[in-house]
């Protein structure tokens, strides 16, 4: 049997894949897997499309953009496994942070408003637009950054300049003053802080508590050709995620990821956020954030259709998805919670029985009834206090007022009634 080839990008949140291989979870489920280190999301997309990879760690927006036909290849992908929640952050340069502080920056939600005052001041004095970088047009980073900016009263398309910079070049770009801030995954925020080049202004957790991050996606053709192989893969990943998420294993996760074939980075750099000790600024003490990375708790691996619809709603909100589509049907073409449930049942892990959940209503931990027992869930608040209901995306989008999308919402409503 030829080995299964899965791609990954050297980021802390490829942890579950690395653990599945290094701790023998793939082998335990009869799988021969080769992990292939890739340098760009575009490569991962193209290699999966032509069959050079069978699947890969992907940005959650990628299988959805393919299903909506708005990425350049539009080769069908599907995911039945979310790799993690949270894990990203927005870091700004020291200079910008000082100006934001003078303008009242304290917490993630007040920081956006402080940035707005800095931008107003820049406009009055005729200074160029601030530049922020993210990692890919269909990335959660793009949507988080835009969400946070808009929540602070900033128009991401007019008041700042957004640009794509690959993660390994982020810190260099900040150092050379080419950008004023970025939204990226770990360890790049920690590295900017360690090198005293920037300050974390908001974490992904603070923008949307326990929000979805990467997924493991396969080409649809491959997944449908061998359903049992896909199930074995899901079973191995669920068990690997349980191991990865356990607090007592996090130091070892950092050790596993540090080696050259994964992140090729100092273990101490990775250990901070992975063990839930996050440093926001070079002179600040580490803050306890046990949920900075969530790899399995809170049903983290479940591919919620409502998460997929939220991501599609962002594509509409920011003009990437310009023609009206049936959002629920598009989400279901790429997200397969049914396949996850089947694998979870086989390994005795409780799984949600519903495909949708409302977002922005739980301030505290709560319990969700599931197949195989109740599941402890985390909070799910947005930084601007909004509520998202996947069955009323049109109402949700209309609620943004001035920041509402260009799309004809009546036409969107007709397809989503």
């Amino acid at each position: 049997m030829t080995p299964l080839r899965l791609g990954f990008i050297p980021l802390s949140d490829c942890a579950v894949l690395a653990v599945a291989l290094e701790k023998g979870f793939f082998r335990r489920h009869g799988l021969d897997v080769v992990l292939s280190r890739e340098v760009s999301w575009a490569n991962i997309r193209d290699k999966t499309a032509v069959g050079a990879l069978d699947g890969a760690q992907m940005l959650a927006g990628m299988p959805l953009a393919a299903a909506a036909g708005i990425d350049p290849v539009a080769s069908p992908l599907l995911t039945a496994f979310s790799l993690d929640l949270n894990g990203n952050a927005i870091t700004v340069s020291n200079e910008l942070w000082q100006r934001m502080q003078a303008a009242g920056a304290v917490t993630a939600s007040s920081n956006g408003a402080a940035l707005r005052r800095v931008i107003d001041d820049n406009r009055r004095s005729g200074r160029p637009l601030l530049r922020f970088a993210m990692v890919y047009p269909f990335s959660t980073h793009n949507y988080e950054l835009r969400y946070w900016l808009a929540a602070g009263g900033i128009d991401p398309d007019a008041d700042v300049q957004l640009t794509v910079v690959p993660p390994p070049r982020m810190v260099e770009a900040l150092e050379r003053g080419l950008i004023d801030g970025f939204c990226v995954g770990e360890p790049w925020n920690s590295l900017a802080v360690l090198r005293e080049l920037g300050r974390v202004a908001a974490t992904k957790y603070e923008i949307w508590n326990n929000s979805p991050e990467k997924v493991l996606a396969l080409s649809r053709g491959f997944a449908e050709r061998d359903e049992e192989l896909h199930q074995a893969l899901l079973r191995a990943l669920i068990e690997a995620a349980v191991w990865t998420d356990a607090a007592e294993n996090r130091a070892e996760v950092a050790r596993i990821l540090a080696v050259p074939r994964y992140l090729n980075a100092p273990e101490e750099l990775l250990a901070g956020s992975l063990t839930g000790r996050v440093v926001f600024g070079s002179s600040a003490a580490a803050v306890d954030m046990p949920d900075f990375h969530v790899f399995q708790r809170y049903a983290a691996n479940y591919p919620w259709i409502s998460h997929a619809v939220w991501l599609l709603a962002q594509m509409v909100r920011w003009g990437q998805l310009a023609s009206p589509v049936d959002l629920l049907a598009t989400a279901k073409a790429a997200y397969r919670p049914d396949l996850y449930r089947e694998a979870a049942r086989a390994v005795g892990i409780a799984a949600p029985e519903v495909d949708l959940k409302p977002e922005g209503i739980h301030r505290a931990p709560w319990h969700l009834g599931g197949a195989g027992g109740a599941i402890e869930m985390g909070s799910d608040m947005f930084c601007d206090g909004r509520v998202f209901d996947a069955t009323d995306v049109v109402g949700y989008l209309a609620g943004f007022g001035a920041g509402a999308p260009q799309m004809d919402l009546d036409a969107l409503a007709a397809l989503n009634s």
């Binding site: 575009a42 193209d46 290699k47 032509v50 350049p72 290849v73 990692v135 794509v164 260099e172 080419l178």
Partner: protein
């Protein structure tokens, strides 16, 4: 005659970039610059105004290039080479060679394809060269180890050079191994006994 296609090359390998440039110039393209991946790629792109960017898939900068639609908003909306979804074979060939192309101006698909064909051919040629170099290095190393094994046999068993070589070859044939592999074993065994 149509005006030359203006190409920008983005590649971390300077040698390969030079090879691609030579190929593109020979086929009538104008190569504006060869850039190694860097954080200020956006600014560079704006100052050169290429029609096509040829990028090595080994550069992480592909993700930045995909986002060009916003930074080049004054010009026609750029498209990625892969936009032609019917063209699966050239996508496969490009991915396998490790090359991708981004179209910035309003070039016809035919002209893009011809640029890409040259690039793919050159990428493959570079790959072959690298392979050849590896093989040459290996055979040099193999010749050396065979010589050492021969010397060891001559000394330990008092054989002539010819007889030592024949013995090595017979061992290889009996055990269905390559000559160099047997020689390596002989050397390793001798080192163990010393």
């Amino acid at each position: 005659m149509a005006s030359p296609i203006r190409v920008l090359i983005v590649d971390d390998s300077a040698e390969r970039a030079a090879l691609i440039e030579a190929g593109l110039v020979a086929s009538g393209c104008e190569v504006l610059a060869r850039l190694a991946g860097r954080a200020d790629l956006h600014d560079k792109l704006n100052s050169f105004e290429p029609d096509v960017i040829i990028v090595s898939m080994e550069c992480p900068d592909r993700d930045a290039l995909e986002d060009m639609s916003r930074i080049t908003s004054q010009r026609p909306r750029p498209t990625v080479m892969f936009v032609d979804r019917s063209d699966n074979e050239s996508i496969r060939a490009a991915v396998q060679a490790g090359v991708s192309a981004y179209v910035v101006g309003g070039l016809s698909p035919e002209r893009v394809r011809s640029v890409l064909e040259v690039a793919i051919a050159r990428f493959n040629e570079f790959q072959a060269l690298r392979q050849e170099l590896e093989t040459a290095k290996e055979s040099l190393e193999e010749r050396k180890v065979i010589e050492r094994a021969k010397g060891l046999l001559m000394k330990s068993r008092g054989l002539s050079e010819d007889a030592a070589f024949h013995q090595l070859r017979r061992m290889a044939m009996d055990r269905k191994m390559r000559l160099a592999a047997v020689a390596r074993e002989v050397v390793a065994a001798a080192e163990l006994l010393l």
